[in-house]
Every structure is written in C-alpha cells, then in structure tokens.
C-alpha cells in the first residue's frame, strides 16, 4: 500500500542567473512496510526532496500525495497536523529543547497530541532498543551527541507516525549504534508497517534497506541493492 507518492516534482530556486534547478522530474513511491534509502553526494538534492515530501516546501511543479490527498489541497495548518500525526522527522540537526529532560520531550508531544502516541510499554521498548532508557531524567546538555541523536529518533517515533523521514539519522553514531538504529528503522517498517525513507551518506545502512535510490544532480534513480 502506497503511503505517499511523488509525481513529476521539480524544484527550482532563484531566478535569472541565480536560477538553480535542484530536482528534475522526480517520481517516487513509498510503500508501507518498506525502508527506502536515498543516497547521493552533498548538494545532489536529497534534503530538498525530503523537505518537499514532508510538506515543508512546496515544489515548483508536480504533486506529493499523502494518504491519498495532494499537499496542494491542504492548508498550512492541515500540513502541520499531518506532520504531527502521520510523519515522523528524524533530523540530522536534532536540536532537542535544552530545558526539557528526555522524558519532558515526550510529554511535550503528549500536550500537543494527547492521543494515538506510543504506549508507555512501546516507548520503553524503543528507548531500551536505542539504549537511552536510563537517560529519561537527563537534560540534553548532559548527553553526548550520539545520545541526543537517539533521543531525537525516539521523539520522532513517539507520535507513532505512518511515515518516517530520516535525514542522516546515523551521522553522530558509531558502528554498533548504526546497526541499532538501522535495525530499529527496519523493524518499524516490517513489524509496524510504516513507510521509512532515509536520506544518507552512510552506506552502513544499505544492509537494512528494501529499496535503494541514488540522487545525483537532482535526478533520482533506483539502484540495485548489493548487500555485503
């Protein structure tokens, strides 16, 4: 089942001599229960693609359809609500609120979205898997970069979104932690039937993916998966 689809998306920034055509006729479909990896060099348009899929940026042309409705037919408020309910962003820049403990980061989500978040047991399982269960009462300033990134991942998963968009989720993690995050994302796709899309430079994640794409100069192409 398609969680979202992207059709003929083009993104152009600037005009005249400053005009940059970042994305060229992108077509993409993410199915529930699969993990898709989009790799490519810096500046290739991966993150722009992610912001368009997440409804943060309106493409110059083309359509993005989530839950059967085109983003263009949704108001800004509806897009916010959709992101809160259906899309979990795991960002490279995790920027946890410095004055909230790890536990409070989840309480904030509860305040805004009181229903349909992970149950206490499910959250504990995620925290356990990410190795941060004992950090609930710590402030971000008391955590290492890797711990903060794992908290950010847990926070993104807490609203139990149907779609997970991850931007370099393993950038601050060492080898063993990459495996933990990779298997967690894979498990979310398989066991919880979510559509997971990861843009990354990190080839260590390839072993977890179902679909591999390459973004180069704004052109997205599907690649064969060669797991070592």
């Amino acid at each position: 089942m398609s969680a979202f689809s992207v059709e003929n998306v083009n993104q152009i920034f600037g005009s005249g001599t400053a005009r940059v055509h970042v994305l060229h006729d992108i077509n993409f479909e993410a199915e529930s229960g699969t993990l898709s990896l989009i790799m490519g060099p810096s500046g290739s348009g991966k993150t722009t693609f992610l912001t368009i899929v997440g409804g943060l940026l309106t493409p110059t042309s083309g359509t993005v359809t989530v839950n059967g409705i085109d983003y263009n037919q949704r108001s800004k408020k509806q897009r916010d609500a959709l992101r809160l309910d259906a899309i979990g962003f795991v960002l490279q820049a995790y920027h946890l609120l410095p004055y909230l403990t790890v536990a409070d980061q989840f309480t904030l989500v509860d305040k805004v979205k009181p229903k349909n978040n992970l149950s206490k047991e499910e959250l504990n399982a995620v925290l356990e898997k990410l190795g941060i269960k004992n950090l609930l009462h710590k402030y971000p300033s008391e955590l290492s970069s890797g711990q903060q990134q794992r908290v950010a991942i847990a926070r993104a998963l807490y609203p139990d979104p149907a779609i997970i968009l991850a931007d370099e989720p393993t950038a601050a993690l060492d080898g063993p932690r990459v495996k933990v995050v990779g298997s967690l994302l894979k498990s979310l796709a398989i066991d919880h039937h979510k559509a997971v899309v990861v843009v990354t430079h990190d080839s260590r994640l390839i072993e977890f993916t179902d679909h591999l794409y390459e973004m180069r100069d704004g052109v997205l192409t599907k690649q064969p998966i060669t797991k070592e």
Binding site: L91, A93, P98, Y99, L108, Y139
Partner: protein, 352 residues
C-alpha cells in the same frame, strides 16, 4: 505554559535576572505612584473633604481662592447646599514650636462644610479664637489646648480639635470661624467670603463679577499641582515603556537562541500557537513573579516609611498600575512572537 514553566525552572539564574529587573522597575513604579498620589492628596485633601461640586470666585481672582473676595450681593442667596468659605494663608507661631505655614479657612458653623468636617479628636469650633487643625500638626508636637498666634494678630488661638484630610497645597489647614477670616484679612466691610461653595452640581449663579468653576478646575489651578502630576505621570509612563523594552529585549534574545529548536518542533508539526503561547506565558510568568515581589517590597516600605513622607498606597490604583506593567510586558513579548511565527523549519533540515 508547560514549556514556559520548564524553561524558567531550568534557567533559574537567567529567569532570576529578568525577574529582578521587573521587581526593581515595578517597585520604583509603585513607589512613584504612591508618592504621586500622596502628594496629589496633600494638595487636594481639604477641597475633596468639603465634598463640593461647584465653587464661585471673583472673576478677577485667576481661579485662586486666596485671591477671591465676594460681597454679600455677589455671593447671592444661599440655599442649604451652599456655604461661605474664606481662605487666607497664615503663619502660626507658638511657644516651643517653629513657625508653621498654614491656610486658615473660615466657615459658618450652620453651613454644610463646617457640619461635614469629621473630627478625629476634640470638639467643633464654637468661638472666634478656636481652631480645628489638620492632624499632621500632631506630628509636629501640637496637642489639644495648645495656643498660637496667627500672623501679626495678637489674638491667641486654641486648638480645640484635630481632623484628618485637611491639607491644601501640601500645607495644613486651620478651620475657624468666618468672622476670624475677615479679621485676619483686615476686612471691616464689603467682602463676606472668599468663595461660595456648593454641593449642587447644577449650581450656576449669574452675579456680576463672579465666575463659577467645578472642583476639578479649582484643583487643576492649584499652584504647582499640574506640573507635579504631569512630572509623575511622565516618569511612570517612561518606566512602563522601559519595562516593556526590557521584557522585549530579554525575550527576543531568549527566543533567538531557541529558534533552531523551534524550527525542529515546527518541522515535526508542533503548531506555532504552542510556541507563541510558550513565549507569552513565559513573559506573563516572569512579569507576574516580578510584580508579586515588587508588591511585597512596596507593602513593607509602606509599613516602615515615616509618616512625614507623603505617600498614599491605594490598592485599586496600584493594581491598575500592575496590570499596566503586565500589559506592557505582553506588548513587549509580541516582538519575539513575530520571530517565532516566522520560524522556517526548512532552515534546520540538512544543507542541500
């Protein structure tokens, strides 16, 4: 509120600094307001205690009761709502006391102003050499039965009563008989009073050579009164604007530091209203805390300040001023709110 409380709890030192600023500003504003009110009352207490609505003066008196003289004809026919009132500046001199500037106000015992004077101690004026005086003279050592001379008059006047709220132009009032006023003024014939005061709002005589004013018009023309009030209003107004700017600057800096965090929250679908409400709640919490401490400090000041300091603590007025500071803080918080609303979540996502 959740985010605001959490931030204040975590950033105790930073929050304390802001609260300390608000405490100092609100304390200063409360003290200045009380001082302004105290001084205003010392200018007008006597006039207000007469409970008059209209006052008729000589038309050439420049709205100054001391410069007004009305003949019987000019005073016209008085009803029970009107009263004669003769006012003159005097210097009281008593043994063992420094010279004391005062206003002598001559009244007719049978008329409403004399009847309305509320005595704190002693009795009403019965004879021409008796006076009822403002109780501030007690603080200067005067007691019931004390005698003093007024100006060059050799008559000795006896204090037979004390009354509260009897100050005019920050000077104590000595209430006596109208005949005494004529004698102090050296009037043998002609004028019978300085003014005619009426408690009737519709009072409007049309005698030649007279002009009738409202009580407020008379108060506004008291020497130095308007300048004093305007100076205080200006100071209080500026302090309120300063408090608004301080709140705006502090919150703006705090908000700017949080923008990347807010951008991530926006990317995750946290509505702007949550972040805006956090900013406004934070402003209200900080200012309300500062106001509460400022109020407590003001209350303590009110308890320990010497009675000679002309301060009047009026709870409704101070509450209104406190509300004004809170509103100013809310206005100040609108500047960072504008920044919060313009947070672009894309700014924190990658760099491609």
């Amino acid at each position: 509120m959740f985010l605001a409380l959490k931030e204040i709890k975590k950033e105790k030192f930073r929050s304390s600094l802001i609260i300390a600023m608000i405490v100092l500003i609100s304390y200063l504003i409360f003290i200045l307001t009380s001082l302004a009110l105290g001084l205003a009352r010392e200018n007008t207490d006597a006039i207000n205690s007469w409970d008059v609505a209209k006052i008729t003066l000589s038309s050439n008196a420049n709205v100054d009761m001391r410069q007004s003289f009305l003949t019987k004809k000019q005073a016209g026919t008085l009803t029970k709502n009107e009263a004669y009132l003769g006012e003159t500046p005097v210097v009281a001199e008593a043994k063992g006391h420094k010279q004391q500037s005062a206003f002598f106000v001559g009244l007719k015992n049978s008329q409403f102003i004399a009847k309305n004077i509320k005595l704190e101690s002693g009795h009403r004026v019965r004879h021409s050499h008796e006076v009822v005086v403002d109780d501030s003279l007690k603080l200067k050592g005067y007691q019931l039965g004390d005698k003093f001379k007024l100006n060059d008059d050799q008559t000795k006047f006896t204090i037979v009563g004390f009354t509260k709220r009897a100050k005019l132009n920050v000077t104590p009032v000595l209430y006596g008989q109208l005949g005494t006023w004529r004698s102090l003024r050296g009037i043998k014939m002609g004028p019978v009073t300085s003014v005619v005061a009426s408690e009737n709002r519709q009072y409007q005589p049309h005698q030649s050579g007279t002009k009738t004013y409202t009580r407020q018009q008379i108060i506004n023309k008291l020497p130095g009164y308007q300048a004093q009030i305007l100076t205080f209003v200006l100071m209080i107004g500026f302090l309120m604007i300063i408090s608004m700017i301080i709140i705006a600057v502090f919150l703006y800096i705090l908000t700017m530091q949080k923008l990347p965090n807010y951008a991530v929250l926006r990317a995750q679908g946290i509505p702007s209203r949550v972040l805006v409400s956090a900013t406004i709640s934070q402003s209200i919490l900080l200012v309300a805390s500062g106001l509460i401490i400022g109020t407590l400090l003001t209350a303590v000041t009110g308890l320990v300040i010497p009675a000679q300091v002309p301060m009047a603590f009026d709870v409704p007025l101070l509450a209104a001023v406190g509300l004004g500071i809170l509103i100013m803080a809310l206005i100040g918080s609108l500047i960072p709110v504008k920044t919060v609303l313009s947070v672009d979540p894309v700014s924190v996502i990658g760099g491609e």
